[in-house]
C-alpha cells in the first residue's frame, strides 16, 4: 500500500493537492471541516510512506492556521465557531498538497507534462533543464557564501547583518543563474534544440492503473465536504 504514493504519477499528486482547494471551498461549518479533514487523515495514515513526515508538514500549517483563527475571530464578528472553521479550512486546503509535493519528481513531472498533457515541448524541456540545475544552484550558494566569508565580507552576529549577507548572496545567485541560462541555451541550440522538426523523449511517461485509482480517491476525498454539508 505504502509504495503507491511514492511510485505515483506526479500529475496525480498535483491533482489531489489542487482538488483539496476545491474541497476547502465547501467547508462552511465545524462538522464539515472535521469530516473532510478526517477523510484526508485516514487516507494519509493508510497510504503515506511516512505519516510522521505528514505530521511535520502539519506543524508548519498549524502556525498559519492558528494565526488565521485569531484574525478571523477578531475581524469576523468574534464568533469562535466561525474562527475555528476558518482555521481548519486552511488545513484542508493546504495539507494534502504540502505533503504530496514531497513525492513529486521534477523530471518525471516534465515527462508527463510534455508527453501526456502534450504541452509545447520547448517550454517543458526548458523547465526540466532549469529544475536539473537546482542542485547546482545550491552548490553555487555555498561557494558564494564561503568566498564572501574568506574575503572578510561575512556577516556578524546581528540579524541585520545576516539579512544583508543573504540579500547579497541572493543577488549573486541570480546573476549566476542568468549566466547559466545563457550558457545552457547556447549548448542546447548547438544540438539543434530551436530548429528541430521532430522531437523524441529520453524517458517514457507511463500512466498505470494505480494512478487512475489514486486520482479517483482524490476526487472522492474532495467530494466529502460537498456531500455532507
Amino acid at each position: 500500500m505504502r509504495r503507491f504514493v511514492r511510485d505515483a504519477n506526479p500529475l496525480v499528486l498535483l491533482a489531489i493537492g489542487t482538488l483539496a482547494i476545491v474541497a476547502s471551498l465547501a467547508v462552511r461549518d465545524l462538522q464539515t471541516a472535521c469530516l473532510a479533514l478526517g477523510a484526508y487523515a485516514v487516507a494519509g495514515v493508510v497510504l503515506l510512506p511516512s505519516p510522521r513526515f505528514a505530521l511535520a508538514r502539519f506543524g508548519a500549517i498549524a502556525v498559519a492556521s492558528v494565526s488565521l483563527v485569531w484574525s478571523t475571530w477578531w475581524l469576523g464578528g468574534r464568533d469562535l465557531e466561525v474562527a475555528l472553521t476558518a482555521g481548519l479550512r486552511i488545513v484542508v486546503l493546504a495539507l494534502p498538497g504540502a505533503v504530496l509535493a514531497a513525492y513529486v519528481d521534477p523530471s518525471k513531472l516534465a515527462d508527463q507534462l510534455g508527453q501526456r498533457l502534450r504541452l509545447p515541448a520547448r517550454p517543458v524541456v526548458a523547465f526540466a533543464a532549469a529544475m536539473q540545475r537546482f542542485g547546482a544552484l545550491r552548490e553555487t550558494w555555498g561557494q558564494l557564501d564561503r568566498t564572501r566569508r574568506a574575503r572578510g565580507f561575512g556577516p556578524t552576529r546581528s540579524p541585520l547583518s545576516r539579512v544583508r549577507h543573504a540579500v547579497s548572496l541572493a543577488f549573486a545567485l541570480l546573476v549566476s543563474a542568468l549566466r547559466d541560462a545563457t550558457r545552457m541555451s547556447v549548448a542546447m541550440d548547438a544540438r539543434g534544440f530551436a530548429s528541430a522538426q521532430r522531437r523524441t523523449w529520453a524517458e517514457p511517461a507511463p500512466w498505470s492503473r494505480a494512478d487512475s485509482a489514486l486520482l479517483a480517491l482524490g476526487v472522492a476525498l474532495a467530494a466529502v465536504p460537498w456531500l455532507v454539508r
Binding site: 500549517i61 464578528g77 513529486v104 526548458a126
Partner: protein
Amino acid sequence: MADAIRPRTSSTRYRTIDLVTVAMLGVAIGVVFWGWNQLFAVVSGTALFAYPPSSGLISGVWLIGGVIGGLVVRRPGAAVGTEVVAAVVSGLLGNQWGMSVLVSGLIQGLGVELVFALFLYRRWGVVVAAAGGALAGAFEAVYEWYAYYADWAFGYQLVYLVFLAVSGALVAGVGGWLLVRALAKTGALDAFGAGREHHDRAAASSTSPSPRA
C-alpha cells in the same frame, strides 16, 4: 548556435535563451520565495497579532517573479511563466499553503502580465512595473478573500487588498525594476532588451562631455 544570442526578429517567438531564462529565473526566485515563506511565518505572526490586514504589506515579495520575468524577457507570457515556475518550485520545496501556491502564482503572474499587455509589450519603465505589481497584489488579495480570509468583515478585506496592492507596487514593481537594472549592470542581461538599454545608456553618458573633463 547563433540562434541563442541573435537579436530578436520577432517579439512573440521565444528564442531558446528566452525560454531557459524564464525557467532559470523561476527556479532561482522560487528558492527565494521558499526562504521568504519561512521568514514570513515569523514576521506575519507578529504582524497578524498586531493588526491582521497588515500582513498584506509584506506580501509583495511574492509578486516579484512576474515583474522580473516580464522586464527581462519582454515577451507575452514571460511574466506568468516566471511566476508560475517560481510558485511550483516553492511548492515542491514544501510550504504552509500546499498546492494553493500554484493558483496564487498563476493569478499573480496574470496580474502583471495584463498590465504589460495593456502597454502592448512596449513599455518597460518603473511606472508600468509598479502598476503590474499593484494589479498582481489586487488579484491575489481577491483570491485570498475566498481561500483564506472568507470570514473577515468586508472592510478589513478591502484594507488587505489595498495593503497588498501597495506592497506589490513598491516591493515587486519598483523593487523588481531596480533589481533588473542592477542585473543589467553586471552584464548578465546582455542578450536581452534590458541589457542592451543599459549599454546604450552607458555609451551615451561616456560620449557626452562630463563636467570633470
